[in-house]
Symmetry: C2
Subunit: 245 residues, 2 copies
């Protein structure tokens, strides 16, 4: 399995954001955190609180004096910037970056994603050490904090190898109803509706029946659900006859 990228936070100012970043990382299987010259106390109580169950990531976080030291061991480094920044490097969506990170990691490379501080982002010196850039697409209002940016990159990392099908239908023991069960339901319902003179005028019966059948088919019933509906029809009819006695 490809080793996940390290997260490198340059000069983070608020312990809360470091904690939120750690928690975000753990949700998506990332575990290696590096801090470049944090501007807040370290270790940090607020970081511990915000990290919630991800305190182990904080405990193992490594502190470096500058970006060159923090990035020394990595083979592939992406830097994150807000959009519109003038850079000479290729700008990737988070999804495209995640794919490249995973491919590089699968080939044995040690990879990292570099995030700037809350106020100023990354400086030009830090940018110059990265292979490429990631910009998170946003609406015109763009105000992602550090924890949120780490969350979205972690999410795309996990997604890049996630085998969850886009849509999971109910378990296979509840297969769609057999046609026999459905035609039994149609016959039962239409017989009772005929008896109740529901189809009116008679010339429209065929169209109305077709619409009712389409409505039922669209519900994609199981056998059990088709039987439940037949039970409901029987119950409704029985009550009606009793009312008429």
């Amino acid at each position: 399995m490809a080793a996940p990228p390290a997260i490198v936070l340059s000069q983070p100012q608020m312990g809360e954001n470091i904690g939120a970043a750690a928690r975000a990382m753990k949700n998506f299987g990332l575990s290696e955190l590096h801090l470049i010259a944090p501007k807040c106390a370290w270790p940090n109580d607020r970081a511990q609180i915000l990290a919630s169950g991800a305190g182990d990531i904080l405990a193992r976080a490594r502190i470096h004096p500058d970006a060159a030291a923090a990035l020394a061991s990595f083979n592939l480094v992406f830097a994150t910037t807000a959009r519109g920044r003038d850079v000479l490097k290729d700008i990737h969506t988070p999804e495209a970056a995640a794919e490249k990170l995973r491919a590089a990691s699968a080939a044995g490379a040690s990879t990292a994603i570099l995030f700037g501080g809350e106020r100023a982002g990354l400086d030009n010196d830090e940018m110059s050490l990265a292979d490429a850039v990631i910009t998170i697409p946003t609406a015109e209002f763009s105000s992602l904090n550090l924890g949120q940016a780490v969350l979205l990159l972690g999410y795309e990392w996990l997604k890049s190898a996630d085998a969850t099908p886009p849509i999971r239908t109910r378990p296979s023991h509840a297969l769609p109803a057999s046609r026999e069960e459905l035609t039994g339901l149609f016959a039962h319902l239409e017989r009772e509706l005929d008896a109740a003179q529901f189809f009116f005028p008679p010339a429209k019966r065929e169209t109305m029946v077709r619409n009712v059948r389409a409505m039922i088919l669209r519900a994609n019933l199981t056998d059990q659900q088709a039987r439940t509906i037949r039970g409901m029809i029987a119950a409704l009819v029985k009550n009606k006859y009793r009312g008429n006695i």
Copy 2:
């Protein structure tokens, strides 16, 4: 343009999370917020602070007594649940849900995404009002808060119609170098390296030249960069001759 889905938060407990949700929404172009029986004071100071620039979304948020009232006007409703929950409905990834929401919205439907409270999530009654379910894929450790869940759904909504190319290379006024510029660079470099007797033993010259050229081509230089390298070679050579005088 398709109207974005409304975000409906059921019984949120913490103002902070409502504020973070509003801020997350605004980053991705969502604007309609509904609250079902909030368990915190409303309006809420902490929500205002966390919303940052998204106070307008809070100001327009609508409060409802229950899910039936909150969802009354919507045609398509997705409910979010943590993974593994036993549901009779189709379970979507955020990406698959965003695609369905956008298609429905483009067809004129009014759509919503329903989120449960921080502690207990959605109850069965609330789930029964939703058309389908969204589960966010995570690692084994799964501890997304309300603001983070809204962030990820908002992100997928924006992505579902985002035309940003996966990789944007530098602007077109900086085209890759012409072959002429490159062969000029090769000739210049190889001439100076020959003069410096760099290629040794001579039998390996051809292989070494091929490797150096491949290294240069891989850098995907612009004309200007190729000229800059020629300038560096000239400068290095000049210094050397001066040193030898």
